[in-house]
């Protein structure tokens, strides 16, 4: 009797083990399938997204360019023209000022040009004295 009961117990365990195994197999198959499906769909979505983005960008670009050109022509152009005109006027003013300075020089503050004369070396002094002598001779002729 006991033997028969042990035997039944063993059979029941084997059955439970088999069910558990089947469950685990199903779970695994389910997970694998889900993984494949989800990875596959991600790849497809990414690809589609990439393709769509490129196509959309390329399709839109001419329109964007047209928009830019149109804006530059009818909107921004006036602003740019105004800026260029301003720069041209500034350059013209600077050129006029430069021409004036080239012609008339830059006025030096009085104290700077009234400073004491620098000491000259002997050679320079000799040279200048020759010029003075020549001018003295000229003045003598003039006063005669």
């Amino acid at each position: 009797m006991e033997k028969s009961m042990n035997s039944k117990q063993n059979e029941s365990d084997t059955f439970h083990e088999a069910v558990k195994g089947a469950n685990a197999t199903l779970d695994y198959i389910g997970l694998v399938s889900w993984s494949i499906i989800s990875r596959g769909s991600t790849a497809i979505i990414d690809g589609v997204q990439k393709i769509t983005e490129t196509v959309t960008r390329n399709v839109c670009k001419p329109f964007e360019d047209i928009t830019h050109v149109t804006r530059a022509t009818f909107g921004k152009k006036a602003y740019v023209d105004e800026k260029i005109k301003g720069i041209e006027e500034t350059i013209k003013r600077l050129e006029e000022r430069l021409a004036f300075l080239e012609k008339h020089g830059v006025r030096i503050p009085e104290k700077d040009y009234q400073e004491k004369k620098k000491e000259l070396d002997k050679e320079r002094k000799d040279l200048l004295s020759l010029i003075v002598e020549e001018n003295k001779r000229l003045r003598n002729v003039l006063n005669r």
């Binding site: 008339h104 009234q114 004369k117 020549e134 003045r139 002729v141």
Partner: protein, 354 residues
């Protein structure tokens, strides 16, 4: 001592332009033209001014008696004052007006009792008579004045006292001067009369010959030359707009302008050759290496190269350099000289109280 403030000026009284530079920093130039209103109507036009100067005088020449006091680097009639005493006195008075105007431009903001000491550049080979005349003119305008050779003033401004050959190409004269470490003597200097005015005349004659219908004046031709002068073979064609029976017409004057500009070169080259050949042989190389072009004529495009080429043929070698500010080189040098001159030297040539 009533005088305290001293203003130094360097002056280049040129045939075409008169230039002044002062140590208060002001420098300027005026065309050497002086005009006097012809009548009461024209005087009204100039705000009752009795005399008009520079470009304003040229622009309004139809309403003025226009004078150019200098010719070929000298005051007109200064060499023949015995024959033309009246004309000489007039030319002297006009030159004085011009000098007064020029000095007035740099002393506008200076006090009335300022002492003005000036160094004036004269053509390299100006005669004693001419230098005397310049001093007489200056005496009434400047308190103290000295005369120096114009190319020497250029050399002084550039600190070139030895082994340098200065060529100052003006409207009336081309002055050549070799620097040998001292004040140049007569042997160191050459003046030729084929200068800017000569180019204008040749150019005018050539245009007249080629374009007989065109109507123009020397002033128009001169203006055009100043903007376009060249001697080089390569380059673009140049066209001048001249009226033909009242209608402006473009005329190709490339060859005429080149020929006119080249007309001064042979004498310049001959001058260089003479000054180099008569120099100490040991220092000739240095002289050839240091040829300096100054004056308005130095702006002729290709002239530097042209002179170098001629020098290579005639002298074996030549290096020509242009000064940075051709118009002001003489006045700047004269100013430097005036500033460097010690007070005791100035006292020896003072005209104050005379």
């Amino acid at each position: 001592m009533a005088y305290t403030k001293i203003l130094h000026v360097g002056i280049d009284l040129g045939t075409s332009r008169s230039v002044i530079a002062a140590d208060n920093g002001v420098r300027t130039f005026v065309s050497s033209y002086v005009g006097f209103p012809k009548d009461a109507v024209s005087m009204r036009m100039f705000g009752k001014r009795e005399v008009v100067f520079g470009d304003e005088a040229i622009r309004n020449r139809l309403a003025l008696d226009l004078y150019r006091p200098f010719d070929k680097g000298k005051l007109k009639y200064s060499e023949s004052l015995e024959k033309n005493p009246k004309e000489y006195e007039k030319a002297k008075s006009i030159a004085k007006d011009l000098l007064e105007h020029l000095v007035g431009l740099v002393t506008e903001e200076e006090p009335e009792d300022v002492i003005i000491r000036g160094v004036i550049g004269a053509p390299a080979m100006a005669s004693i008579k001419n230098k005397k005349t310049l001093l007489t003119i200056a005496d009434g305008v400047l308190n103290d004045s000295m005369i120096v050779s114009e190319p020497f003033a250029v050399a002084y401004g550039l600190n070139l006292f030895s082994s340098a050959l200065i060529i100052d190409i003006g409207a009336g004269t081309v002055d050549l001067c070799r620097m040998a470490g001292t004040v140049p003597t007569e042997e160191d200097q050459i003046t030729t009369l084929k200068a800017g005015d000569h180019i204008d005349q040749v150019f005018l004659d050539l245009i007249r010959k080629k374009h007989k219908d065109a109507n123009f004046t020397v002033a128009m031709v001169k203006r055009f030359k100043e903007e376009n002068a060249f001697v080089s073979v390569q380059g673009e064609s140049v066209f001048i707009e001249l009226p033909v029976r009242g209608k402006p017409v473009n005329h190709d004057v490339t060859e005429e302008l080149r020929e006119a500009c080249r007309s001064i070169v042979p004498e310049v080259i001959e001058g260089i050759r003479k000054l180099v050949a008569s120099f100490d042989p040991e220092f000739q190389r240095g002289l050839k290496r240091n040829v300096i072009l100054a004056g308005g004529g130095s702006q002729i495009i290709g002239l530097q190269k042209e002179i170098e080429n001629y020098m290579k043929k005639a002298l074996g070698y030549g290096k020509v350099t242009k000064v940075e500010e051709p118009l002001y080189a003489g006045a700047n040098g004269a100013l430097k000289l005036a500033k460097d001159m010690p007070d005791e030297y100035w006292d020896q040539v003072t005209s104050r109280g005379k």
